[in-house]
């Protein structure tokens, strides 16, 4: 199963982050790219990468990298 490096890749690729930008520093709407549309793209990337189906409340709660880790751990991911 995918791990923390793959989760970082989801953030980097979805938001086209500049090299050196730490995904852990981001929060929902803290950058232009992470708006509601970007959020759904991030969710799609994470669900595909980790082969999980998140609950609607988890989609709404995933407001940071750390929160993503916490939610993915609930689904058995090794992150």
């Amino acid at each position: 199963m995918a791990g923390v490096a793959e989760l970082e890749t989801c953030f980097v690729e979805t938001f086209a982050l500049e090299p050196g930008t730490d995904p852990r520093s981001l929060r929902f709407q803290s950058i232009l790219e992470w708006d509601s549309v970007g959020h759904m793209q991030l969710i799609a990337a994470i669900e595909s990468t980790f082969d999980v189906m998140l609950e609607t409340q988890e989609v709404l709660d995933m407001s940071s990298f750390d929160k993503a880790v916490e939610i993915l751990q609930r689904h058995g991911a090794d992150v």
Binding site: M40, I43, A44, E47, S48, M53, L54, E55, T56, V59
Partner: protein, 251 residues
């Protein structure tokens, strides 16, 4: 949520409210065309029975996913089960709905709330969850069951008609939002269709209504299902955001 046969590479559809009426006819139509069918119904027994019967009749994989459409957690549960079993969803038929009759002044608030919860919010909850699963493959089709009452209004059924109008509006908005992700969203607006919902009409009331239909008869659930299947198929690949009547030309 017991599987009734093994999954394979065939397309997968979820039909809500599929234990009887138009939903059942839709599930049968998809199965007859070789689709794997996830069957939703409010009760476990209803979903399981329909799933078993359809698998027996058509030899396709089926999955019972019971749950109230108005319960967002139950809806999430349906998609978890579909994901675990099939890993994909190609089409959603949002059919689950309940009636709410009564003239203005006599509509019970709880019944009206329940109708909005199942008919309108249930449709929204299913679109949200289904579109997330469809986006992974960049393709999908959603067909919502509106009603001629939603497009033209209905004396004595204001609350029900409003829920169906909400579904038509939801269809247009979802089509705009999901189209760029390869997901088409359309609605079907049946007229007078031969289902349990007609049972409450007296013979003379039914005759009066049939007299207004140019094709001079009620429609069948199978005739609605034919359009639903078409809209979900690739033959409708350039149709998006439409609400299409199946009403015999009812004015």
């Amino acid at each position: 949520m017991a599987p009734t046969s093994e999954p394979d590479d065939r397309p997968v559809v979820l039909v809500t409210g599929a234990s009887r009426g138009i939903g059942r006819a839709c599930a049968e139509a998809f199965a007859a065309s070789g689709w794997a069918v996830a069957i939703n119904s409010t009760t476990e027994e209803g979903a399981a029975r329909a799933a078993a019967e359809i698998a027996d009749t058509h030899g396709v994989p089926t999955l019972a996913v019971p749950g109230d459409a108005g319960d967002d957690k139950a809806v999430d549960g349906c998609y978890r089960a579909i994901f675990q079993r099939f890993k994909r969803l190609d089409a959603l038929v949002n059919n689950a709905g309940i009636l709410c009759d009564g003239p203005l002044g006599m509509i019970a608030p709880d019944q009206a709330r329940r109708a909005f919860s199942v008919n309108a919010l249930g449709t929204l909850f299913h679109i949200q969850a289904a579109s997330r699963l469809m986006r992974r493959r960049g393709t999908g089709a959603i067909v919502n069951l509106s009603s001629i009452m939603g497009t033209r209004g209905a004396a004595g059924a204001s609350a029900y008609a409003a829920t169906k109008a909400a579904i038509a509006s939801l269809t247009r908005s979802a089509a705009l939002e999901l189209g760029p992700h390869g997901i088409r969203v359309n609605a079907v607006a049946p007229g007078l269709i031969e289902t349990d919902m007609l049972a409450g009409l007296k013979p003379e009331q039914l005759a009066d209504r049939i007299a207004t239909i140019p094709l001079a008869r009620v429609g069948t659930a199978a005739e609605v299902a034919d359009l639903v299947l078409f809209l979900a198929s690739d033959r409708a690949r350039y149709i998006n955001g439409q609400v299409i009547g199946v009403d015999g030309g009812m004015p």
